[in-house]
Symmetry: C2
Subunit: 345 residues, 2 copies
C-alpha cells in the first residue's frame, strides 16, 4: 500500500467513535534512575540502546540502580499517551499481568481517555513488563527491558474494534522481539487494510532493526504506509551507508517516512521530496527518553487530522521538545494547550 501525495484520506471522519490513532506495543512500566557512574556499562548494556533481560537478571539490575522514579512507559504506549494529551481520541492494544504494575499501566492510559484493549496474561508469566532506564549525565537513556507479560501477546489478543475505528494503526517494531507477535502483527495489518486504517511502523531501535531486518523490510514493502525511524534505524534497515541512500530506498517504496535526527530536527520523506523540519530550541535537555515517542505522537495525530506531513512533523517536534526537558517519557504539561499556543492545533 502507498499513500497519495496529498493525504486526503487522513482527514478525520465525523462521528464520535472515530479514533485518531490506535497503537499496538509492549505494555511496560518504566523504572528510571540517573546513572552518573556508568553502571549501565558494568551491566553489559549498550549505551543508547535497548537490551532484553530475563527474570534471573531482574533483581540484579534493579538493585544496581540508584533511587528510581516509576511511571508507565512502552514506546508506542508513550506515543498514544501523547496523542491523548494532545486532545486526540486514541486506542491501545497490549498485554499486562494481573499485578500492581499492570494496574498502574492501565490506570495511566485509561485516565487520559485512551480506549484500551488490554489482554491480561495468565499466571506464571513473570508479571507486567518493566523497562529499567539509565539516564547518563549526557541525557542519553540506556534501557534494559524485561518483557514479562508483553511477551505473551498472541494473535487472539488482537481484536478488530479499535483498529476498525482508527485513522492510523501504529505498530511498535519492538514487538518483533516477541516470538508469537509476528502472527499478531500480520493480523493487525490485515485488519487495518480491511478497514482503510493507515499502517504506521516505528522501527523502535537500531539493534531491533538488526535483529529483524528481513521482517521489517517485508513489512515496509507490503504493509506500511508511514515509517517512523531515527537516522541509525533508517540506515540499518536499508543497509545504507548514508542517510541520502536510505531516503532513496524509501522513495522507491513510495511510502511516507519521517526520520528524526535529534537536535537537528526531522526529515520528512515523501514521494515529492525530502523536507527538513527543525527541532525546537531546548536549553536544558534532561532526558532524551521518549523524544522519538512524543515526536510520533504529534506527527501521527496531526496526520490523522488531515494535516500535511511537514505540518505534522512540526507538531512532532513541539512534543519531542517538551519531553526532553524532564525525566520520563510521558508528557508533564498540557500538550494540547502547548500546541494551540504554538499555532499548531
Amino acid at each position: 500500500m502507498t499513500i497519495p501525495p496529498t493525504p486526503v484520506s487522513l482527514r478525520a471522519k465525523p462521528g464520535p467513535t472515530r479514533l485518531a490513532v490506535t497503537g499496538i506495543g509492549n505494555a511496560l512500566l518504566d523504572i528510571i534512575a540517573r546513572d552518573e557512574s556508568d553502571v549501565y556499562h558494568e551491566l553489559g548494556l549498550v549505551k543508547g540502546g535497548m537490551t532484553l533481560i530475563d527474570d534471573e537478571q531482574l533483581d540484579r539490575f534493579y538493585q544496581s540502580m540508584g533511587p528510581t522514579i516509576q511511571m508507565s512507559g512502552g514506546s508506542v504506549a508513550n506515543s498514544i499517551a501523547g496523542v491523548a494529551a494532545l486532545g486526540g481520541a486514541a486506542g491501545y492494544i497490549g498485554k499486562v499481568a494481573d499485578d500492581e504494575f499492570g494496574e498502574r499501566f492501565t490506570h495511566d492510559l485509561r485516565t487520559l481517555g485512551v480506549e484500551l484493549d488490554l489482554a491480561v496474561a495468565v499466571d506464571g508469566d513473570g508479571g507486567t513488563g518493566r523497562c529499567h532506564v539509565f539516564i547518563t549525565p549526557d541525557a542519553q537513556r540506556t534501557m534494559a527491558t524485561y518483557l514479562g507479560a508483553s511477551n505473551q501477546l498472541r494473535v487472539d489478543d488482537i481484536r478488530e474494534d479499535l483498529i476498525a475505528r482508527s485513522e492510523i494503526t501504529y505498530v511498535e517494531g519492538y514487538l518483533y522481539d516477541l516470538p508469537p507477535a509476528k502472527a499478531a502483527i500480520a493480523r493487525v495489518t490485515e485488519l487495518a487494510h480491511h478497514h482503510d486504517s493507515m499502517v504506521a511502523l516505528s522501527l523502535s531501535d537500531m539493534f531491533c532493526v538488526e535483529r529483524h531486518r528481513h521482517d521489517f523490510l517485508e513489512l515496509v514493502t507490503h504493509d506500511v504506509d508511514v515509517l517512523l525511524a531515527n537516522e541509525a534505524e533508517a540506515m540499518a534497515l536499508f543497509q545504507a551507508t548514508s542517510l541520502a541512500r536510505a531516503f532513496d530506498a524509501i522513495d522507491e517504496l513510495g511510502i511516507l517516512a519521517v526520520v528524526t535526527r535529534g537536535p537537528r530536527g526531522a526529515d520528512v520523506v515523501t514521494p515529492a521530496g525530502v523536507v527538513e523540519v527543525p527541532a525546537r530550541d531546548v536549553e536544558n535537555v534532561i532526558d532524551q527518553n521518549g523524544a522519538g515517542d512524543m515526536f510520533a505522537a504529534g506527527f501521527l495525530y496531526s496526520l490523522a487530522r488531515g494535516d500535511d506531513p511537514v505540518e505534522a512533523a512540526a507538531l512532532g517536534s513541539l512534543c519531542a521538545g517538551e519531553i526532553i526537558q524532564h525525566l520520563g517519557a510521558r508528557p508533564e504539561v498540557d500538550l494540547e494547550l502547548l500546541a494551540i499556543e504554538a499555532g499548531l492545533l
Copy 2:
C-alpha cells in the same frame, strides 16, 4: 536547650561514622498526578495542605487521579535524600510494610548511601504509607496521605545508634498525627540530648500545627534547637497576627529558626536578629512539592558542617530552587555539584 550564637558545636567531628543529619518521619511513597480540573477540591481536600485518608478512601482517591508518577517521598525522608545528594552522611528512622512500596522506599534511600533503621510493620497494617499528590497548574501541591505502616511507629522502633552519631536529629512534625508517636518523639529528643545531637523540628504543615499546637509548643520550648517552618506554620504555632510577632516569640525562646517564604526567600531568626536570605531565581516553576524539604536538606547539612545559619540558608535556597523545576520532591540533579559550582560547598 538553646544553641550558642556561634554554632561551634555544629562543626563536623572527625571519624567515618559521624553523620550530618538523621531524620525521623513518615516513610511514604508519593503518587503524583497533574490536576487541571480541581479534582482535589471535589475530593474535599484543602489546597496546599495535607489531609489524612483511611484505607476505605484509598481506591477512590487513586482512581480519581490522572496518570501518575511514583517515587519515594515523605517530608523528612526527602530532606535526608537531599542531604545524601549533597554528599552528606545521613541516617533515617521510620516504618514501612513488607510490600512492593516498602521495598522501593528502602531501595531509594539505601542507594543514596543513607544509613537506614527502618522498622517493618507486621501484617494487617494496610501496607506502606502513600501520599497522593495533586499538582495544580499554579504549581501548588495538595496532598492526601494514607499513613499505613508509618502509623505504627513505636517508641521501641527508635534505636540509639543513628541518633548517637548525628550532628543533627531532624524530627517531622507530621509524626504527631500518629497516636503512638508522641512517646517515640520523646525518646528521640532524650537520646539526642544525651548524645549532644542538635534537635531540629519541621512544623510540616499549617493544619498539622493547628492539630498539635500544644505539643509543638512544649517541644520547641524544651527540646528543640532548630525550628524549620514556613510563614503560615510559624504564625499558627505562636498564634501570631504577623510574622514579626512570630519572630519575637522565637527570640524569646532563644532558639535558631528559619522561616521559608516561597519566592520571597527565607528569614533566619537567631538571637542576634533576623536576616533575610533571597530565594534563587527560577524561571519555570513546575511543582512546589518538596521545596521546604529541600530547603531543610541544604540548611541542616550546612549547619552540621559548621557553617553559620545565613550561609546555611543560602544552601537551602539553592536546593529548593532545584526541586521546584520538576515534578516530585526528590532531587533530579547532582546537588553536590550544583552547590560546589555555586560556591556553597
